[in-house]
């Protein structure tokens, strides 16, 4: 039997959790949480996503995301608007303040990326990203059925 710290799922969660805790602490002074940052970053990638799209993209559970959006909206970083073509969906847009916040937090995110991969060759980094995507995809079939 493998010791706990030879299991990929454990190693993965352990590393992920540590980075998450550390990054959260770093951005707290700016008044954003990690899920908030994920939402802001994903909206920077593509503005005007719906709540459902953003949920898939960020892997934030949709009811949790709804409340994260409450916070972002209250702080006027994000705008919610019922879509014109399909009023079941709500589209999300960064406000100018939201974009400013992204510009302020981005350097921290980049610093954490750099710290995380410090000492790894760029080849290693490429491999790591590839493997993490593969792992995620591998779990597709086993995810809770909708």
């Amino acid at each position: 039997m493998l010791p706990l710290d030879d299991y990929v799922p454990y190693l993965l969660n352990r590393a992920g959790a540590r980075i998450a805790v550390s990054f959260s602490e770093a951005v707290r002074p700016m008044g954003v949480t990690l899920p908030m940052w994920r939402a802001l970053a994903a909206l920077t990638d593509r503005d005007g996503q719906t709540v459902g799209e953003l949920s898939s993209r960020t892997s934030i559970e949709i009811s949790t995301l709804s409340r994260v959006l409450d916070g972002l909206q209250r702080r006027k970083l994000v705008e919610r608007k019922r879509a014109e073509d399909d009023a079941r969906v709500v589209t999300l847009r960064l406000t100018p303040a939201g974009r400013t916040m992204v510009r302020r937090v981005m350097p921290i995110a980049e610093r954490y990326e750099r710290v995380a991969i410090a000492g790894l060759s760029s080849r290693d980094v490429a491999t790591l990203k590839r493997l993490l995507r593969a792992l995620y995809a591998n779990m597709d079939g086993l995810a809770p059925r909708p």
Copy 2:
């Protein structure tokens, strides 16, 4: 600026969270949660650890772990005992029922390991483990100061 899904911290959390959710679901019928399983597995590696040791080893926050242990003790899978030499610490031991539970859950854990790394060469798996350990170590300096 990188899109969200090129950031290592994001890829890491995403993959880790998906495996965690899926595994949790798989072991729920046996009445164990993921943190419970981690504790049981770590105690299988080495019996008689203290609560603090187990907390570091599993990366479960110590007050959370204390409550996880409440559950494991209530279900008679783990025994708590004040250490004889230093009565500040509590040592933890698997009961026979605890060992039985480990034997029952182990195949599921092994299946998840296999599914996670499906399609990866054994070289890739070795690389992945090495990189995940490196990442974890890299965050050492940035972790919240004690």
